[in-house]
């Protein structure tokens, strides 16, 4: 069958089940039921502290076929996922499903465990490196399921993704299971992505390298959700967890794109008191923030909030009074961690509060402007951030689809050509985010507005920005690069791309 975007998807996928086809960004709202949660009640006097990860796995009664979960705030410095899986493999467990909110190159040991049948399923919102490549080659038994950040929270809360045991990398934990992310040598700031896991898993294990006396205030994840605490030597490498500083691009092309983007934002009329804004940590995205900052200062505007994965640059804007508050699901650098720790208006948020479409209102719904990237964008404005143009998985939605759906103005900023590959194409290799959520694409050669946004097209006519149709943009790119040959993919499905509401927006095929 074809979904509403014309993507060919089967009605049933072996190892995944029945497919609910994507039917539009807001097609699936309404009343929902959250799952029941199994809780083993604690008896006064019982200790939660265990001496090894193995003991925790045994106490949790982990069995073949179970699903275990991890959060990714330690990013490419994370040790916990590998430590737990090593123990799982040693114990001879098989057919384990790994629900990691994101997977990074550091998680390469998973590949061998996929080959040996210890791991047979993977759920992730983003994956890059050897695991992503191995999945693309068909080394995982069942198709991987790619969620969005908000969609993962939805899947956990609804029971679509049942977690038997959640292992939470805890920069600091006390003896009764309270966790915070702001202290300890692996401090990573907010723990937003781990919160649905903690609340809905059958068993929750905090793995920490900073076990402190009770209570570990301030508390990010409360004791009522945590069954066991295990102290280990180290949960992660700080060098891989945070970047020291995040820098604005010096590349003149990136700066030009950023400047034009700020002009689009200005022309949109959204840049007024109460303005809300989110941008990524990439050099060009930060440059957009820099130009927006200039405009806000010049016009004397105070925004309501900046959201997201938060960088030091956003913190500076906040400290200068340009935003009243920050909503933070993940801290990208030390400055963001410091600010989250010390400033009450720098508010942590869970993955559900951030982007879950099936709750009483996520933060993305209140976003004015969202700055996003793209690996490919097609002439219907559908965006791919999941696979490279060679078909290999190299990313995933993360918050892409969530923020694009919620924001009043979702802007794709990208160079028109990257390493000879035209970014604007006839059809995306994979669709991550539907075109209906994308309002405008800004490249160094021109700007294209989604034809649905007639209001924005009219507003941009009053500027001298190089506005054109997306087909014109595609032609400029192809005139430079030539038309790329189509890549050949196998028929086997290696990953399912779930939209935030749990419908299937696309599938990823095995690479040849």
């Amino acid at each position: 069958m074809k979904n509403i975007l014309g993507r060919e998807i089967p009605e049933f996928v072996e190892g995944y089940g029945k497919v609910k086809p994507f039917g539009g960004a807001f097609n699936n709202l309404g009343e929902v039921t959250k799952k029941e949660v199994r809780v083993k009640s604690a008896v006064p006097g019982e200790t939660k502290v265990l001496s090894t990860i193995r003991e925790a796995i045994e106490k949790c009664n982990l069995k073949d076929g179970a699903t275990i979960s991890f959060h990714h705030h330690l990013r490419n410095g994370d040790y916990v996922l590998n430590m737990v899986l090593e123990e799982v493999a040693k114990m001879g467990l098989k057919d384990i499903k790994v629900a990691a909110s994101s997977i990074f190159p550091v998680h390469a040991p998973m590949v061998e465990l996929m080959k040996s049948g210890v791991i047979t399923g993977v759920y992730a919102n983003y994956m890059s490196g050897p695991v992503a490549e191995a999945i693309s080659k068909g080394l995982l038994k069942n198709p991987a399921v790619m969620h969005t950040h908000g969609g993962r929270a939805r899947a956990i809360e609804s029971g679509d993704l049942h977690i038997d045991v959640a292992f939470i990398a805890a920069p600091t934990a006390d003896t009764y299971g309270n966790i915070n992310g702001v202290e300890g040598k692996a401090a990573c700031g907010t723990l937003g992505y781990a919160i649905p896991d903690a609340m809905y898993a059958d068993r929750v294990v905090a793995v920490t390298d900073n076990l402190v006396p009770y209570p570990a205030c301030p508390i990010d994840i409360q004791q009522e959700y945590v069954d066991y605490v295990v102290a280990v030597e180290s949960i992660g490498d700080p060098k891989g967890i945070v970047s020291g500083t995040t820098r604005i691009t010096k590349d003149p092309v990136g700066l030009k794109i950023a400047k034009m983007t700020s002009q689009v934002i200005e022309a949109s009329g959204l840049l007024k008191d109460g303005f809300s804004f989110q941008t990524g940590a990439g050099g060009t995205s930060l440059a957009v923030a820099a130009y927006v900052k200039e405009l806000m200062k010049k016009k004397g505007i105070q925004g309501s909030f900046a959201a997201g994965g938060v960088t030091g640059y956003i913190v500076e804007m906040f400290e200068e009074g340009l935003f009243r508050s920050i909503f933070d699901v993940q801290c990208f650098d030390l400055k963001a961690i410091e600010s989250y720790k010390n400033n009450k208006a720098h508010q942590g948020m869970s993955a559900s509060m951030y982007g879950n479409p099936h709750n009483r209102g996520a933060v993305v719904n209140n976003l004015d402007v969202m700055i996003l990237g793209a690996t490919e964008i097609d002439v219907d404005f559908n965006v791919n951030v999941t696979t490279g143009s060679n078909g290999v998985i190299m990313g995933g939605s993360g918050g892409h689809s969530d923020t694009a759906a919620g924001a009043k103005l979702a802007i794709i900023v990208t160079q028109l050509v990257k390493g000879r590959l035209p970014i604007v194409v006839d059809k995306c290799t994979t669709v991550t985010t539907p075109g209906e959520s994308i309002d405008v694409i800004v490249t160094e050669r021109g700007i294209a507005v989604n034809p649905r946004r007639t209001d924005l097209i009219e507003k941009l006519k009053t500027t001298n920005l190089p506005v054109m149709t997306i087909e014109e943009l595609k032609k400029i790119a192809e005139d430079m690069t030539g038309k790329p040959e189509k890549i050949q993919l196998d028929d086997e499905i290696v990953a399912i791309v779930e939209y935030r509401d749990g419908t299937v927006i696309d599938v990823v095929k095995k690479v040849k």
Binding site: K418, G419, T481
Partner: protein, 87 residues
């Protein structure tokens, strides 16, 4: 035009192509191409390299090309420079 000695042009930077030409006493052109966009543009890059060599009158050469996403005019320029340096 005859390649007398090994010569190179270009870099391994993004959007550039690194070219090395060497004499080929056996006769003919041997092209060893690596590219980050091999599946999408491999054939096009080969065509551009072979055509440029032909235009320059190079009939015998071993050409090593390491492409990092260069556009056609870059490829032509790097080939021409390498060939002229190798004369």
């Amino acid at each position: 035009m005859k390649i007398q000695k090994p010569a190179k042009a270009g870099t391994m930077e993004s959007n550039d192509i690194y070219i090395m030409v060497q004499p080929n006493d056996e006769g003919g052109v041997i092209l060893n191409l690596e590219s980050i966009v091999m599946t999408q543009f491999g054939n096009q890059i080969k065509t551009v390299i072979m055509e440029t060599l032909k235009e320059l009158g190079v009939e015998d050469a071993v050409v090593t090309a390491k492409d990092r996403g260069a556009l056609d005019y870059t490829i032509r320029a790097r080939i021409e420079t390498a060939v002229k340096r190798g004369m």
